[in-house]
Symmetry: C3
Subunit: 271 residues, 3 copies
């Protein structure tokens, strides 16, 4: 039995209904010592890619042994499997639709278990709310120290999202906006290492929406009001931001839109 069991929750359920509370109740009935921590419940309805991004960015800050329960589940009640992924340091529970995979892969997948043993489910399984009827009770039992193989058979693999990676063509690196945060910051899928490898100290232009940005800033404070800046955010991704403003509103960019980095080798490097 874990000394200080923690279960995190990430869903697209919102917080105005009784859905999340029902899940917490189910968990606490099984393990009243458990701490239940919300990651977020404001994933856009059915947005598996958005949920996967948030989970992959949050999970690693929690203590080893934390159970991460995530539900964005448009196919609930259908054939898609319910899974538990055991990784190097954590457990991930949810539908097998790609939601868990980016986080699990980042930590190192050690075992995938298909949740089939009904002993660990609620006695009655609805066709519409596996978060409450399957995932929450499994998470509760897991947090009590029940070994992963008890929950079902080992699976060889799990579903993966086709999220796309940044592409390089000639002197252009093209990524996409993968998340827009509460402040309107546009977070791209371009990681710092990839950017540095591509730029190799050459001058560059970053473009998003109809705006061009010529340099990288260190922090939001270096921007001027009403002028978009680029920087590497706290998750390590290239981010477009407007100091004390909202980049999404100013640039009228939505998730999935392109972010391009162009180098012009012929331009003398100003450094």
């Amino acid at each position: 039995m874990l000394k200080h069991p923690i279960i995190t929750l990430l869903t697209d359920f919102g917080t105005k209904d009784h859905y999340v509370a029902s899940m917490k109740g189910v968990i606490l009935r099984i393990n009243p010592r458990c701490k239940v921590v919300d990651i977020t419940h404001q994933v856009e309805p059915q947005d598996i890619v958005g949920g996967a991004f948030l989970l992959a960015n949050a999970f690693s800050y929690f203590p080893e042994g934390t159970v991460h329960l995530a539900v964005v589940d448009p196919e609930v009640g259908r054939a898609r499997k319910s899974i538990l992924i055991v990784t190097k340091n954590y457990f991930f529970i949810g539908p097998d639709n790609g939601l868990l995979e980016p986080a699990a892969k980042k930590d190192g997948i050690e075992r995938i278990v298909v949740l089939t043993d009904k002993k660990y489910f609620l006695p009655e399984i609805s066709a519409t709310f596996h978060g409450r009827d399957i995932f929450a009770p499994v998470a509760g039992h897991l947090s009590l120290g029940i070994a992963p193989p008890a929950f079902g058979k080992k699976a060889g693999d799990c579903e993966r999202l086709d999220v796309g990676q940044p592409e390089i063509r000639g002197n252009r690196l093209t990524g996409r906006v993968i998340h827009i945060d509460h402040f309107g910051n546009l977070i791209s899928n371009i990681e710092k290492e990839e950017f540095i490898r591509f730029i190799k100290d050459r001058p560059f232009l970053i473009s998003a929406g109809k705006k061009m940005i010529q340099s990288l800033k260190r922090g939001y404070y270096e921007g001027n009001k009403n002028v978009p800046i680029a920087l590497f955010g706290s998750g390590g991704y290239l981010e477009i931001s407007v100091r004390e403003g909202n980049a999404q509103k100013m640039l009228k960019v939505k998730r999935g839109d392109g972010v391009q980095i162009s180098t012009k080798s012929q331009i003398p490097n100003p450094q």
Copy 2:
């Protein structure tokens, strides 16, 4: 003293102010071992009926002995009583305005106590915030194991909401939309048992807004995009839903609007 005391909170206070946190602070000052779990704080302002629905749908998933504290209280400071209801498995605390009654009745009411002993209140009682000044400290003390009769005199009854039940006239069963959830699902007050008893294997038509639905689905996944479906949701009520869409927006239905089931005995049963 309960080994793992839990207090749940349900209010119409929203989460942008300090109101909910003040209540949690008051509880934790009295019982720092207590787990405080939010059901929701997004009940529409003063919507007692909406709050009662959510409480009645969430309470039973929590461990026995949980204290459910609910505040939707347009008459705060006035003559309405403050009550504690002891039920078979739980405790309910809040204003005596019908908010607690549907949940308490479902679990089986054993005793109603009018909260009058000021020893268990904050020293100063405002006329505007009994959640903080009366209900939270009473819940805290109750979670310490203080016996219900200590808080005040026994009452014979409590207020009840006039929520209305589905009605049958001839071959028509008429219910109402009692909750619209985060996904736009329209949840009616027609329970599965009642529906089955009424239909008796006859063919039927369900109508809501200006849409007609001819069959029941098992889960959301059985629907086609942009076509409303009917199914029994996770709470056991007849629900109108649109797969990966929003039934409220599509059908332009609001809470209180009718949901009708018509049977036509003369239509040959397609089964």
Copy 3:
């Protein structure tokens, strides 16, 4: 080591991203026994004054020894200091930009420490997210019982907000709306004692927006629908409210707008 350590969080981060959860994870890695309680994460982006008001109104309800961690931090990554303020009963952690000062002053400041010892930070400090990288780990360590002087050097003073106080000119007391709550109640910076001292039993008129109010009510319930009333709210401030309505929408007032009390000594006192 505190027996039941509590850390509260107040930020402008919203709840749709992974930011708040990352902070909670960091805290729980350091002190898994800690209770983390949200005050709110819906402070308007970069609104230090609004955050300071909520913190000053919530902090004192929590148990002695509670660590209050607050982040509204437009200058993150820049020169502004990171501080810990030790007060008579609490600890406050956050940026030195005035956010913590009103609450800390109310409780009685005993020591201000500039957070400089990197041993208590995350190994890598981003320029954009000190909430996760500096404040959360310091709060976690503090909740373990590490003494405040360990975190850095003592400072003589901290930043203060210029929030303005109500002003008296002749027979007029002018305050301002400092907070508008979830219900649309307009909360002014006029405290009950100041009001009573100014009025001295004389008749008065309260004006806000284009509405005039002639008397004080005790609670919301004393109002008539669609008529604004004035009362002292649960925080002790003069508040304009509309029973079962929304004063902000009716009066079209925004934060910072004036609230005036006029006395006319010549008018016979109706009492």
